[in-house]
């Protein structure tokens, strides 16, 4: 048994499975750093997966290999538009942000399948796409034994996700925009006093959040599943929220947590290869990421370090 190859495959699969989670967790980061709870990541991912698949389907004959890129970009735009009602409800109308998020999750699940059925003649899923993202090998580096396959043969979306992590870290911690974003999430009144438009910051953050989460969703439909159906996203938005909390609302932390969930998912197939299922029931392997999240949150992470104003609507002129 070639351990190097097994390990190489494990890293490779981990990156594939983590990509969508990284995008979505970063999306959650913008929103929550601005003080708006975003439990709607799941719904935003669904909208992204749906839009990505449908737009790619629409352009695959005329644009060929470029079609998934159109789908991917369209998904980002659709996600930020879809996030708008969440901003309206939670920023302007000071609604309970968790409830508004729940509403968006319901809406995404219903709307996407409703539209799928209209577009695809009553079918509950889009037809399988002819063109999706292909894995991209970095010339030279991908020739390195084991490591090449593990890291340098990946979907373009995976590279984008890691770039997005770095960009987010830079934006949030090194730019004036990031400083304003964080101040609005920690102490909106103080931010308001120094002339930061709290509402506008929060609207922007929620829309960026929708865009990134939708890119995560599109990643799934345009790389691993090649179509969109009701279970394309199936709970990954919620895992992304867990990754965000797990990663303590920090881009690198969120990435680390997303990779951790990716490993857990990649191990599933590995366990089957080894025949370990004779000793451990598969159901327990499926349970693993969720149980670990609970254990880690209860034990290692301890009390949460959420942005101080998270979930609190800001009332201009409140004292």
């Amino acid at each position: 048994m070639d351990w190097g190859l097994i390990l190489s495959n494990l890293v490779h699969d981990t990156i594939v499975f983590s990509t969508a989670l990284i995008f979505a967790a970063l999306g959650g980061l913008y929103s929550e750093r601005s003080g708006v709870v975003n439990i709607a990541l799941e719904g935003m991912m669904i909208i992204g997966a749906f839009t990505g698949a449908v737009m790619t389907y629409a352009f695959q004959d005329s644009l060929g290999a470029w079609a998934p890129w159109v789908g991917f970009i369209a998904a980002g735009i659709a996600g930020s538009i879809f996030a708008l009602p969440h901003a309206v409800a939670s920023v302007t109308f000071k609604a309970d942000q968790t409830v508004s998020g729940v509403a968006l999750n319901f809406l995404a699940a219903g709307l996407s399948i409703y539209l799928t059925k209209i577009i695809f003649d009553g079918a509950g899923q889009t037809t399988t796409l002819n063109t999706v993202f292909n894995k991209f090998s970095i010339p030279g580096l991908s020739e390195i034994p084991y490591i090449g396959h593990a890291i340098f043969e990946a979907y373009p979306t995976s590279y984008l996700a890691f770039i997005a992590v770095f960009l987010t870290w830079y934006i949030v911690f090194k730019t004036p925009f990031g400083l304003r974003l964080r101040s609005v999430g920690e102490h909106p009144r103080a931010a308001d006093t120094v002339g930061i438009n709290v509402k506008r910051m929060r609207y922007t953050a929620v829309m960026i959040s929708g865009m990134l989460a939708a890119l995560g969703g599109a990643t799934i439909s345009l790389t691993t599943t090649s179509n969109f159906s009701h279970n394309t996203v199936s709970g990954q938005g919620f895992i992304a929220i867990a990754a965000l909390i797990f990663g303590k609302w920090h881009p690198m932390g969120a990435m680390g947590a997303a990779l951790f969930f990716g490993v857990a998912q990649a191990i599933k197939s590995l366990v089957q290869i080894f025949g370990l299922t004779n000793y451990i029931p598969t159901e327990f392997i499926f349970m693993l990421p969720y149980v670990l999240t609970i254990l880690v949150m209860a034990g290692l992470v301890g009390r949460s370090s959420a942005p101080a104003a998270l979930g609190k609507p800001y009332d201009t002129g409140s004292r």
């Binding site: 409830v99 729940v102 809406l107 409703y114 499926f286 949150m297």
Partner: protein, 357 residues
Amino acid sequence: MNKVIAVFTKESFLVPAVAILLGLLTGAIAMLAGGFNPIDAYTALIKKVFGSAYNFGETIRQITPLIFTGLAVAFAFRTGLFNIGAEGQFIVGMIASTVVGVSFDLPAIIHAPLAILAGAVAGGLWGAIAGYLKAARGVNEVITSIMLNWVALYFANWVMNAFFIPAGKQTSEEVKDSAIITIGWLAEMFDNARLHWGTLIAVLAAIFFYIILWKTKSGFELRSVGLNPHASEYAGMNVNRNVVKAMFIGGMFAGIGGATEILGVFHYQAIMTQHTGYGFDGIAVALIGGNTPFGVILAAILFGVLTFGASGMQFSAGVPFELIRVVIASVIFFVAAHGIVKIFVKPILMKKKEGGH
């Protein structure tokens, strides 16, 4: 004073009512955009539910678990907790009742209540895990209960696969007749719609919800903790214990819901590839029902009628039944952002006030 109360109750009734209208309107717009006739579709929906005794009975069956999960979410909400885990609590309620229903041979008078009790305790304990982690470790209950939903799904499948499902099959043995709570004569009256005692238990649970929260000392504590945990702590209440208690009681409601679904409707348990959805729908039911027991029953009725009727809408008017999720989502959205609804309600309230003077 009475007038003040009257205005308040008016508004607490008007907001959801207007939200429902706005939701139906949003659905109608979505139908028009999709090239369907909303009037035909809504008519078909109503006809489906009220058109035959069987369908009417099945609608009642559909409403029942929604009352339970709605109560589960609403009860925790009263203590300031957001119980997104009703789904998991519902599922462990299902397994517990299947285990008791299949494994024991007892007289019906003991067997059925015992199976329901098992569901209640299992659901309660499952809810209490999230409550305990919140109380003891400060872990956000929204996240733990979401995770516990998935754990429950796989755990239930494991229990079934390992002990109750013969090799090569997808469903467990049927529960013993003595554990079944289907009401034969009532089912016959409704053309064999699957009606069961769970519906009555659901109504009793709503009454229990009301009594425990508003008529007992411990209910006062639970509500007090929900309104202001710091003040409650200062007043000498044990906030942590109340958090666990609220999640246990909430989980019990969902657990009984799962148990009655097995014992009253299916009589066996199948391997699940996805969640039942009742727990998530319960969130909507609780929110639309304003987290009051009576409101939960009304919201469950609305919800059950819409979801059951949606299949008729698809059959006769060609509208995909997922549209109804759009309607429900809009209703939740407008209930959450009641500021939007108040813009619509204001003129009505103003008129009322002018008329009164």
